[in-house]
């Protein structure tokens, strides 16, 4: 079907993508949308660094600066990093476990479109009276008193896209539990599948508190409630707890899949089985578990008292142990291996010192009395960029190069990739390392400017120069992508030659039904085992060729999400415009009608017949 799609016109292709329920196409949708939001967030970052390049700068006004930092954080976390991770999860996990698709293809599409419309809604704030300006944490007292509609866009936009994330998380949980090929036991699952599994469990438990918090915020700001108004018996600290009960696991939602990607890369390009596989799995699960026990370390200065602070301090330190286990296992995976420095491997190798640096400053901040100094200073800005950029973003870039051949059957240029790496990596350390010291020297975060007499001028300038390198890196990457797409040179199966897991065993381009016959998994690193035994097919099969049941495409997820998008405008202008409530009703009506249509109309899908599969086998190629 994918080869047929290429012959279609633009409109037909667009329609195909809007209605698709194929995990491979949804992966591409996530990649494009997440990539665009990554660019938007990156431009916002550049504006921030231009403003702070020199003291007393007036490049940006005070209010606009706050909007930009808020949108930079929110965009990067919710609209860039997570969707890009979902892109790889969608592209890789079903193939990695030998499944024909995710468990709920329809929900997969719904999750994407909710994220899409939520993200668009949030960014429309720029054109409709101003973006949110209370920080990505949107602490209640400031958020409630923020004038205009900025924070309303934040609450509604995140609510919609958060719903999409929750759906996607549940979908991956069910997929990984139920859809594994015969022989793919839990302890044979590749680490990327494992980390997707744990991250999805974190999503399942972490997003509901955010949903609750956002609803309270929506009710307070748009419908006259007083959950966060202390003069009416509300409490602002509740928001901080709700936000961080979500927010801390969110950090692990971002980093665990990154760990997964790097685990795959380390073992692939060291030509070696992942060292201490079971310890790695255990560490992943343990990090996920402990991730829920430590949220209040974001609130050491809120005034919770010494007992709470001490407990959360020690609990936080505990997370360093499983994280350290992972670092050493990666090192020992390389040890004794045969390391090939491809672009993905360069990112992985660059990741280790970067993430260790970010991790140890995390332990420093776990020490509560020390955190009284570090909290809300530039030290913490440095810290979380070290873990998020040095961990997650490096993983996203590594994953882009690594999985590009799997997704598009072409290969990004290696030389350009390495240039991108060195520019980005140098720029990253140049930008953020020095910010640790700015924080120690008394510079608070989220300041739109700073006075010239405080000894921060030079370091801020250096930091801004570093940002230019990062931007150049991204420009090289974009050029690389465009050139690769234009050249369109097909590379076929296992282009890295050292692929170990099932996704590399599948013929390229990947058929829309994935596996003609469900494979039989005989151990960890299935494809490696088959290759070592000289199996040219790359896999052995658990079933004879038979009819394959496939789901039909559907436009309903798109319409359902669009209804929420429309309804959100009604909620936003409630009490201000006469049409607000009717529009809210209309939006919800669209959503509920499409839900009704989905429930009442039986859609049984279709079958790819055995005869067609056999035909294809004769004419097809590996």
């Amino acid at each position: 079907m994918s080869s047929i799609a290429q012959k279609k016109g633009f409109g037909a292709t667009l329609w195909d993508y809007i209605t698709t329920v194929d995990h491979k196409k949804i992966a591409i949708l996530y990649l494009i949308t997440g990539g665009l939001f990554f660019i938007v967030g990156g431009i916002e970052a550049m504006l921030i660094r231009i403003q702070l390049a020199q003291p007393d700068n007036d490049f940006l006004s005070a209010g606009l600066y706050n909007e930009i930092i808020t949108m930079h954080g929110t965009t990067m976390i919710f609209l860039a990093a997570m969707p890009l991770l979902f892109a790889y999860m969608n592209a890789v996990v079903p193939l990695q476990i030998g499944a024909r698709d995710v468990a709920f293809p329809f929900l997969n599409s719904l999750g994407f479109w909710m994220f899409f419309f939520g993200g668009i809604f949030l960014n429309l704030s720029w054109f409709l009276g101003g973006a949110p300006d209370a920080g990505w944490t949107s602490y209640a007292s400031l958020a409630i008193s923020s004038p205009g509609h900025g924070v309303d866009f934040y609450a509604l936009g995140l609510q919609i896209s958060g719903g999409g994330t929750l759906i996607a998380g549940i979908n991956f949980l069910v997929t990984i539990i139920n859809m594994r090929a015969p022989g793919m036991t839990y302890m044979r699952m590749p680490l990327f599948t494992w980390s997707t599994f744990v991250a999805s469990a974190l999503i399942l438990f972490a997003f509901p508190p955010l949903t609750v918090g956002l609803f309270l915020m929506i009710f307070d700001r748009m419908f006259g409630a007083n959950f966060f108004d202390h003069t009416m018996g509300g409490n602002t600290i509740i928001w901080e707890h709700l936000f961080w009960i979500f927010g801390h696991p969110e950090v692990y939602i971002l980093i665990l899949p990154a760990f997964g990607i790097f685990s795959e890369i380390f073992s692939t390009f060291s030509r070696k089985r992942l060292f201490g596989y079971s310890a790695m799995v255990f560490a992943t699960v343990l990090i996920g578990f402990l991730g829920f026990m430590v949220w209040a370390h974001h609130m050491f200065t809120t005034g919770m008292g010494p007992t709470a602070n001490a407990i959360f301090a020690v609990a936080t330190m505990a997370i360093a142990v499983p994280t350290g286990v992972k670092i050493f296992n990666w090192l020992l995976t390389m040890w004794g291996g045969s390391i090939k420095f491809t672009t993905p491997m360069l990112y992985a190798v660059g990741f280790i010192p970067s993430f260790v640096a970010g991790g140890v400053t995390g332990v420093m901040q776990a020490s509560a009395p020390l955190d009284y100094q570090l909290h809300d200073s530039y030290f913490i800005v440095a810290h979380f960029h070290y873990v998020i950029v040095g961990g997650t973003v490096l993983a996203l870039l590594a994953g882009l190069h690594f999985y590009w051949p799997l997704m598009f059957n072409t290969m990004l240029n290696e030389t350009w990739g390495k240039i991108t790496f060195w520019l980005f990596f140098t720029g990253f350390h140049l930008t953020f390392f020095i910010q640790h010291f700015l924080g120690l020297m008394g510079m608070p975060r989220r300041v739109f400017t700073y006075g010239a007499d405080q000894g921060w001028d030079l370091f801020n300038l250096i930091s801004s120069l570093g940002a230019i390198f990062m931007a150049l890196g991204v420009i090289f990457l974009l050029a690389n992508i465009i050139i690769t797409i234009v050249k369109d040179k097909k590379v076929g199966r296992d282009p890295w030659e050292d692929g170990r897991t099932l996704e590399w065993a599948i013929p390229q381009p990947v058929p829309f039904y994935n596996f003609k016959q469900t494979p039989l998994v005989r151990g960890l690193d299935t494809y490696w085992i088959e290759k070592q035994e000289g199996n040219k097919e790359g896999m052995i099969y658990a079933e004879p060729i038979g009819d394959i049941h496939m789901p039909n495409n559907s436009v309903i997820p798109f319409v359902m999400s669009f209804g929420l998008f429309v309804g959100a405008f009604g909620a936003l202008y409630n009490g201000e415009q006469p049409w607000a409530i009717p529009v809210l009703g209309l939006g919800l009506l669209i959503t509920f009608l499409s839900m009704g249509a989905r429930s009442l109309k039986d859609d049984l899908g279709y079958h790819v017949h055995k005869e067609d599969l056999l035909d294809e086998k004769e004419g097809g190629k590996h």
Partner: protein, 364 residues
């Protein structure tokens, strides 16, 4: 080979940089030059944790550099298939247990310090006359200024905190509008001023601030509170106990009605009483509750509006257009004041106000 060596060089360079930077930063602003016991405790925790962490980094880097030097494909041969090692239980136990020990070494002083720094019992200790022995300051954070009330001394100031040296000074923190955070980096860590309730902690200062570059420590708002969050600075003046007591007395005296020395200043006073007095008190005696900052000690201050150079020109600029200098602040533009009827201050009126305000002083 070369790449690995370069990383090593980079690392040792960074270590050297760190040592160099420990002496870096402005003395009145940097957490690296602690000005009292609280700051020192936290600084020592930083040194301890940094030490442990550098140890970890060194171990990781040694293994890391050796691995990427020794096991490059160009070295081990293109067609080598490495041994597929499953793992090693002894190693797993080592790198689980050793970090736990390292973390315990950090956890014990952390927990101790957490409790010590939260101990504010000294606040309620009274002498025979029933007077509190320690100085307590009620800090109220406003958009974008700070009020400092001394409940046991019966005085109130704003923007410039004055505290005695050589003893614990206790703080009750609260926000008037949105959440802020009270931070004097050189003296010690921050604590949030919430809208919901009062947070309490203490700080202490070794030396009078006289010897510092500006004669004051810098204080910051550390929690995003709106457009002018970056400008919500305050200053801290530390005096030895004797000077502090004298200062308290002279603030109390500011309650007495005085006539400014010059004609211009008198004119300014009249204008002030028509236009500004509704929000700004000029007597330091009293309690919290001013709509705008108390100006009793204005002439002694280090900054106008918390961040502008302390001169008449800036006073005039500030009064004539507060919104321009601190976006989102609550001080009305002059033309919006009730008795101005839409009229801005003339240059001459601004001169008079500036002259008068500069004369509001309790110090010599």
């Amino acid at each position: 080979m070369m790449k690995g060596l370069k990383k090593w060089r980079l690392f040792s360079m960074l270590t050297a940089l760190m040592v160099f930077l420990a002496g870096c930063g402005e003395e009145h602003l940097s957490t690296l030059t602690p000005a009292g016991q609280v700051g020192r405790d936290q600084y020592n925790l930083m040194l301890l944790s940094t030490g442990i962490m550098v140890l970890v980094i060194v171990v990781v880097l040694v293994v890391y550099v050796l691995a990427i030097i020794k096991f490059r494909r160009s070295k081990v041969g293109e067609n080598t298939i490495p041994k597929q090692v499953e793992g090693n239980h002894t190693l797993e136990i080592i790198w689980t247990v050793v970090p736990i020990i390292l973390l315990l070494i950090l956890a014990v002083p952390t927990v101790t310090a957490t409790y010590n720094l939260a101990d504010v019992r000294g606040m309620d200790v009274k002498d025979e006359d029933g007077q509190a022995t320690a100085v307590t300051v009620n800090v109220k954070a406003n958009l974008y200024w700070w009020e400092f009330e001394y409940p046991n001394l019966g005085i109130v100031t704003s923007q410039e905190l004055v505290v005695p040296t050589g003893e614990k000074v206790y703080f009750n923190l609260k926000a008037a509008d949105v959440k802020h955070s009270f931070w004097i980096p050189a003296a010690g860590g921050k604590l949030d001023t919430n809208v919901d309730g009062i947070n309490t902690f203490y700080l202490d200062f070794d030396e009078p601030s006289e010897s510092l570059e500006d004669g004051v420590f810098y204080g910051k708002c550390a929690e995003l509170c709106g457009p002018s969050h970056a400008l919500m600075d305050f200053k801290v003046k530390t005096l030895d106990r004797e000077d502090f007591d004298a200062w308290v007395l002279s603030v109390k005296e500011s309650a007495e009605e005085t006539t400014p020395a010059t004609d211009v200043a008198q004119q300014g006073q009249e204008l002030f009483q028509q236009s500004c007095i509704a929000c700004h008190a000029v007597s330091g005696e009293g309690t919290t509750g001013g709509i705008g900052p108390n100006l009793a000690t204005f002439g002694d201050r280090n900054r106008v509006a918390g961040f502008l150079e302390h001169d008449k020109e800036n006073i005039k600029n500030w009064i004539s257009n507060p919104e321009k200098y601190k976006p989102g602040n609550l001080m009305p533009q002059p033309e919006d004041l009730p008795k101005r009827n839409g009229k801005e201050f003339s240059n001459q009126e601004l001169d008079a106000l500036a002259e008068y305000l500069m004369g509001l002083s309790v110090e010599d």
